[in-house]
Amino acid sequence: MTEASRPPQGPLAPSDDSLFPSAQGLEGENIAPNSVVGAVDDTHAAGLELKVRSQWSYARMRFFRHRLALIGLFGLVVIFGAGIFAGLISPYSYSEIDLNHIIQGPSLAHYFGTDALGRDQFTRVIWGIRTSMEVGVFVAVVSTFVGLVIGAVAGYYGGWLDNLLMRATDLVLTLPLLAILLTATALLGQGNQWRVSLILVFFFWTGIARVVRGIFLSLREKEYVEAAKASGAGDARLMFRHILPNTLGPIVVNATLAVGTAILVEAALSFLNFGIKPPTPSLGVLVSDAQANPNTPTGGIAWWLTIFPGLTIVVIVLCVNFVGDGLRDALDPTQRRMRA
């Protein structure tokens, strides 16, 4: 993979306002006791009435106390809103060529300037946001689902099935993202965001799979699971009703952070001209175009062509990471200290 991808795998990521993807063990050992079932006690000052809250409302409270997460959430709402309503808010059409206004700087008519064919950068950035959004969300959701299923099966059943699935994970890790992408686009036609997303999913599920597997492995020996088994619960019920809820925290965090990683990977691929191909807009393609046409007709540097798309990517991923961080704080039950 390119170094732009930081796939969510690695050793224990200790808790407590850490930023990165969640805990997972290597090769089966139980490192993080990542399971707490039941509500976390709320400590109220004596004398106040004890309100019984669900785990989710505690989580929500913790999340909203996280300032950065709120900023991130707000940012995402604004940006993704812009993406969703791209058609409504963009002042021009994104492929509208105006050969009389080539490579002009930011102005009132063109907020982000124009590119080599006179297209409005602001419009193209907004449509690029929409594409990035589609890729990020699709990859995160689908790869989470796939990874969840595979990790659950591997962790719950163990034995040869676990071994096989983990070897499959290794296989995926050694496969070259670029080569597969190149061939897929050559065979299936030009790269639009859905084809690229599908291929990215193929590479992203391994992260979640390992996390989920670790949790399932550690939890299936727990007493309450044995008790449930003794009282006649089937495999499916055990997996979904008893163990799965404990994975939701790390899964949600991982999925959120995967959105950011997917957007970064897709941008890098489009930049290298291996991912999304024009005319589908993509922020990576915009930067690649900027590199091909770096100068204004008079010889100066068209800084706006590089800065704005890249800055947009940074802001999106930053907001996603803030939200992910906040979610981790909110949902990670091993957190021992409440943020002041």
Binding site: E96, L99, I102, A116, A186, P294
Partner: protein
């Protein structure tokens, strides 16, 4: 516990250190040689001796040329190595042939003193003083035997030649002494484009024991590894990926070179190339067109030259069964041509680096067939969107815009079919841009394009040969002698191996016969006339929409004299008169 950590850390550092230094040591060495191929002296040493300041270079009579691509070898006949940058280094300056083409496309006799060609035979008189300088050996004259060796090796079925066309028309050869050779054509296969034959002659005697597919990967040398040349320079050092040095050949038959040596440094990316030129590190470059070059156009100490090259960028319109049925109708093709604003496209793509580049107006692209002049048959289809619309209306199309409008979304319907076509091209940046521009221009008159961008392998390998497209944009590489049009325009017949490059499946008996006559006509002027008649017909049937010839750019320091006529758009490249370059005051 801590001991383990330190132990591990030490082990890791040791491993890293070993890897790093091993890597660095191997990185410093040049790549190991293949036992079967010969090498010239390594470049690094020669480069270390090349002076860095202009004054020192002038004193030592040397210069540095920036080469934009690594070459894979210098055997220009070999399909693997048939690269422009190999040609400008090893072709013209080192290995010469019968003719040399100057910057105006004129064929000048070079190694031959006289050439006679007829329908029966081709006779070449080799200059008396044309000789091979093989270092370490006594010099030998260039003889008929060399010409015969060249013909034989190119037509050898095991040789991977780029093209054997013309050579395979020769039935037998006869040497008259050392300096005259006659080739007899096969019956009925006289090759009129004879001037393009033997532009590159191999020294058979020096290559004994070597196989065509193997020689000259890493040198231009005889079978003992010593450089050989029959041109103004010989290649004294070369390292792949780094560069090569050409040194003056004192035994050349022409006017001796004014410079003693020229170092060609390989700088593969445009960013570095531009900085090297601006910073004075290299004295001349011939970069492929990229818009970043615009910073070099107005520099006071540099001369910037851009001329149209011999690459014909064009649209193919598929009129065979694989294309949209509407495209078989002439008025549709006319409307498409009238809807395209080619000058505006050229300005957008190359305005900054080749100001004044004009569109091509001839489907047969001959040398010097500019936008205007008597051969500019395509001029009548210049940008006129109003006419396009009235043309469509006249033929009963409905549903389109009544006048050209930028935001139009209506597509015409003609005879029950919509004017919506697939447009395929490769992923090169200029083509992606032009596809967007044309899409917008044609939408303004109600013709919709579905753009497909492909990688070159599938485009050239599958889409074009299967004639499975509607409209396609790509480029032909041509030459100044009008030729090659048979493969492009002849009626396609797979069994007879005709029209192999006629992907658009255009077929006209008249054009076929004109091309055939032209191919057989040894009088260059008459041949041109016949080809131009064919060009007129193909222009009017809009078999092809000619776009432009991408610029060939040559930038050099003002202090370098003798290079004013050097920007040569043919495959000779800017080094065709390398021997006349010198430092002036």
């Amino acid at each position: 516990m801590h001991r383990r950590v330190w132990f591990l850390a030490a082990a890791v550092v040791a491993v890293l250190g070993l890897t790093g230094s091993a890597a660095a040591v191997t990185a410093g060495k040049s790549s190991s040689s293949n036992a079967s191929s010969l090498h010239a002296a390594p470049f690094a040493k020669a480069w270390a001796n090349t002076p860095r300041t202009p004054a020192a270079r002038a004193a030592k009579k040397t210069m540095v040329f920036g080469l934009e691509q690594t070459v894979t070898g210098f055997n220009l006949g070999n399909a693997d190595q048939n690269a422009f940058y190999a040609a400008i280094v090893a072709g013209t300056p080192v290995i010469r042939g019968t003719y040399i083409i100057n910057n105006k496309g004129k064929y000048l006799l070079d190694m031959a003193s006289k050439v006679k060609a007829s329908k029966k035979s081709l006779t070449i008189w080799i200059k008396k003083n044309a000789n091979w300088n093989w270092l370490g050996h006594k010099s030998k004259p260039v003889t008929a035997a060399d010409y015969i060796y060249t013909w034989k090796i190119i037509t050898d079925p095991t040789s991977n030649v780029a093209s054997a066309v013309g050579y395979s028309n020769i039935a037998r050869a006869k040497a008259h002494g050392k300096k005259r050779v006659t080739f007899f054509w096969k019956k009925g296969q006289a090759f009129a484009d004879y001037r393009d034959l033997f532009g590159y002659v191999y020294p058979g005697f020096a290559l004994k024991g070597q196989k065509f597919n193997d020689y000259w990967h890493n040198c231009v040398c005889g079978n003992d590894g010593h450089p050989i040349s029959n041109g103004p320079f010989y290649m004294s050092s070369y390292t792949q990926g780094q560069g090569m040095v050409l040194k003056k050949n004192p035994k050349w038959y022409g006017a001796k070179a004014k410079l003693n040596s020229i170092a060609f440094k390989i700088i593969t990316d445009t960013n570095s190339e531009i900085q090297a030129m601006r910073g004075g590190e290299v004295d001349a470059i011939t970069p492929s067109p990229e818009s970043a070059l615009s910073t070099l156009v107005h520099q006071k100490n540099l001369v910037y030259s851009a001329v149209p090259s011999f690459t014909q960028e064009h649209w193919d319109i598929e009129v065979g069964p694989g294309g949209a049925p509407l495209l078989k109708k002439l008025f549709i093709r006319q409307a498409i041509a009238l809807g395209m604003n080619r000058p505006s496209l050229i300005n957008a793509l190359y305005g900054g680096i080749a100001p004044g580049l004009k569109p091509l107006n001839n489907t047969f692209y001959e040398f010097g067939s500019p936008a205007s002049g008597k051969f500019a048959y395509f001029k009548k289809y210049n940008f006129n969107q109003k006419n396009a619309i009235s043309l469509l209306k006249k033929h009963g199309c409905t549903g389109g815009p009544s006048s050209p409008s930028a935001g139009n979304n209506n597509v015409w319907t003609c005879g029950g079919q919509k004017t919506e076509f697939h447009f395929d091209t490769t992923s090169r940046a200029s083509r992606v841009q032009s596809s967007q521009i044309f899409k917008q221009q044609l939408m303004a008159i109600g013709i919709k394009l579905d753009v497909g961008i492909h990688d070159p392998a599938s485009f050239f390998g599958t889409i074009l040969p299967n004639a499975n497209f509607d409209l396609g944009e790509y480029a032909w590489i041509g030459g100044p002698d009008p030729s090659g049009f048979d493969a492009i325009y002849q009626c396609y017949d797979a069994a007879k191996n005709l029209g192999g490059s006629n992907y658009k499946r255009y077929c006209s008996k008249k054009v076929d016969s004109l091309i055939k006559k032209g191919e057989a006509n040894f009088n260059a002027n008459k041949r041109t006339a016949q080809y131009q008649q064919a060009a007129k017909i193909t222009s009017n049937s809009i078999a092809v929409i000619p776009l432009y010839a991408p610029p060939q750019i040559f930038v050099y320091k003002k202090a370098l004299q003798g290079a004013s006529k050097s920007n040569n758009p043919t495959s000779e490249g800017p080094t065709w008169n390398l021997q006349s370059w010198h430092w002036g005051s």
